[in-house]
């Protein structure tokens, strides 16, 4: 009886193990993903079609908050627990961990012709002379302001960009204040992000990068915009929740704009889908060109890349999924349905699927903005030092806004933080 019992348990275990192995399951691939708008839904739809034609592959999309992609994905990857693929906004963070898709994709020449060389290079190790294909940009973004035209009309204030091609940030501030004065809403806001501040700072004449490769934050242009940001807060022109009430994280001013409580909102092209869905035609909104200043007129480039990690156990299957999503028709459908500016150079005229005229108009404005980005802006985005610069700007300026630091001290601290982060990275 005793021995018999032991045998039964062992037999059950063996049957269980064999049973699990015997199942002929498709290869499971995982994508770490985050959403600004409807792109997760569109992606799932496209993947469902892929799976229908490729029964041997199942793709699971793990949608997480953007902050998780920023904070946890780098650790996961470095610890050897990378997903097979991911949507990332800081492509330089994972250099050295990407899977070179060149040996696996059907037509590497298509990839090279379709995607900007700068973005493909962005994913390679600095100084790496290679033709490796680590991923592709699935979205190109440009920062720039939106306005609530209905509020301007209600207040009887002229929209400055209607009569001039070169409106300054100071003029926008004045106009926004006039609108706020009459209508009782907030005048102007900018996302709590160093990346968002950089465009206006460059416009005011800031230069972070010198020829010799050094990084300097304290320039008159940077000071001008930092002071303007402080003034927006001290005068109550901007909703304090965005910069002061958000602790140490990224925060968007979008909820205030969507609820019609904000006249001018500095954000970027990725908000278009969000606004088309959540504002629609509830009021007249539109994108306006980036203001002009001593440094010209520039926003910040940006966007996300869809990348594959070398830790995957199924490189061939990963490449099939990547090839599918990068293919012209699928890519076109993705951006047309998500209202993204494509990072694909060969799509030609796009037929954006929105019946919101403001979305169409804004897409055109941002497409024009993409052509006038400054060298400093490109250097910050693709030079590999953004991780050391953007967050200190965000966090130290917040301290200046709350009064913990003077603006002078804040700028000195930004420089110290940037130097420390660059030194730590260099020591690795």
């Amino acid at each position: 009886m005793k021995k018999f019992g032991v045998l039964v348990v062992l037999a059950l275990l063996v049957v269980g193990v064999l049973g699990v192995q015997a199942q002929d399951s498709p290869v499971e691939l995982r994508i770490a993903w985050y959403d600004d708008g409807n792109e997760g839904t569109v992606l799932r739809d496209l993947l469902d079609r892929f799976e229908a034609d490729n029964a041997d592959i199942r793709v699971i999309v793990d949608t997480v908050p953007y902050q998780t992609i920023l904070d946890q994905l780098p650790l996961q990857v470095e610890a050897g627990e990378a997903p097979d693929m991911a949507r990332v906004s800081a492509g330089e963070r994972y250099r050295g961990f990407y899977l070179d898709l060149r040996p696996y994709v059907a037509d590497p020449a298509y990839w090279e012709a379709s995607f900007p060389a700068a973005v493909l290079q962005w994913l390679r190790e600095s100084g790496e002379e290679s033709d490796a294909l680590y991923g592709f940009p699935n979205q190109f973004t440009v920062t720039g302001p939106f306005i609530n035209r209905t509020l301007f009309e209600q207040a009887g204030v002229d929209v400055p960009s209607d009569s001039s091609d070169a409106v300054t940030w100071e003029q926008w501030t004045e106009a926004a204040a006039a609108v706020a004065e009459v209508t009782g809403v907030y005048g102007i806001a900018i996302d709590r992000s160093g990346h968002r501040v950089a465009g206006p700072a460059f416009t005011e004449g800031a230069t972070f990068f010198a020829e010799d490769g050094s990084v300097t934050i304290d320039t008159p242009g940077f000071r001008t915009f930092a002071q303007l940001l402080l003034d927006w807060h001290s005068s109550g022109l901007t909703p304090a929740e965005v910069w002061v009430g958000s602790g140490g994280t990224y925060a968007a001013g979008a909820p205030f704009f969507i609820s019609g409580e904000l006249a001018v909102y500095m954000s970027g092209s990725w908000q278009i889908g969000n606004f088309a869905t959540n504002i629609g035609d509830a009021f007249d909104w539109e994108a306006v060109p980036n203001p002009t200043g001593d440094g010209g007129s520039t926003g910040m480039p940006g966007g996300t890349a869809f990348v594959a990690f070398a830790q995957t156990e199924h490189p061939e299957e990963v490449a099939r999924v990547m090839d599918y999503l990068a293919s012209e028709d699928i890519y076109r459908e993705f951006v047309e349905r998500t209202l993204f500016i494509p990072g694909h150079q060969g799509l030609g005229e796009l037929d954006y699927q929105t019946d919101v005229p403001a979305a169409q108009q804004s897409l055109q404005v941002f497409a024009a903005e993409a052509l006038k980005l400054s060298d400093q802006a490109y250097e910050l985005q693709y030079g590999g030092e953004a991780f050391a610069i953007n967050n200190p700007i965000r966090d130290r300026l917040t301290q200046a806004i709350t009064g913990e630091l003077t603006l002078d001290d804040a700028i000195a601290r930004i420089q110290e933080d940037v130097d420390a982060a660059l030194a730590a990275a260099a020591a690795s």
């Binding site: 780098p74 958000s246 630091l405």
Partner: protein, 351 residues
Amino acid sequence: MAPSARASDRRTHRPGFSLRTLFSPITWLLSLVYDGIVNVVDFIMHPLQNVLGVRRMAYIFVLPNLLIFAIFILLPMILNFYYAFTGGTNLFPEDRPYVGMENLNTLFTCGNFLDPNTCRADIFWRALINTGGYVVSQVTLTILLSLISALALNKGLIGRGFFRSAFFYPVLLSPVVVALIWKWILQQDGLFNALIVSLGGDRQPFLLSAQWAQAWVVVISVWAQMGFYTLILLAGLQAIPGELYEAASIDGASPWQSFRSITLPMLMPTMFVVIVLSIIRAVQIFDQVFAFTGGGPGTATTYMVQYIYSVGFSNQQNQYGLASAASLVMAFALLLLTAVQLWLGRRNEAT
């Protein structure tokens, strides 16, 4: 022996058919599996016992727990120590260059230790000062209010059971839930401000002004934790023999006198536990505040653990060495606090 004999008695008296007959094949199979599992364990343990002897078998039983302790507590502690003296942003220990005291130097380079602005790691000092202020105010308030409510509950007031549950209820909530509930109440367009506006007042920047935010963080954590300590103190109060109060009242002692001469001294051992627990917990404050204010406005509610977390993990700069060094400082502070408390406790016992 006896129970099984009784069971077999019952078996002989059972009726001809019952549900049990229907299930008997299943029960038989289950008992077979159970027997099997027990015997597999026996299969391994018996020879082991023959080799090791009965006394040493105890080590085998504590081994799983010891392994968990070693992997999840001891190893990270040792690694933390090592990381504190290395630099760079690499994750794996073997890729990290040794930098000696550099991280600790960074933390302790200060023009004036009372002014964070003169320190190289200014946020570290802000976090340290914030934590100090929080610990003092939160622990004092928690102990005071827990004591008062325990005394009230011990007085057999009407609805005692209800109040006991009401005080304890927040303890059951996850810290993040507590934070989110209060955030909804206190934010600019939250419940509290709506109430104030409807009564004709002006909105208050509960989460946007440093003073308000710091105060609310204390209030909320007192609210969330008080019930736990109240319960412990109540148990302590109920363990004080009633005869003592009787004797005191016969001797003509006033309520205040019996509180000072009987309740407080008799409650001291319990009180001591409560103080130790609440201080350690207060120093480690993180999750609730992180979800509630995120450490803001500015750095007004940034405490030590959040500083460590943000330097190491959330600021995209991954300065694990600096974070580990700050952890060491915090561990040292906790060690010191515990030592002082132990010493005070011993002295207390001795008197």
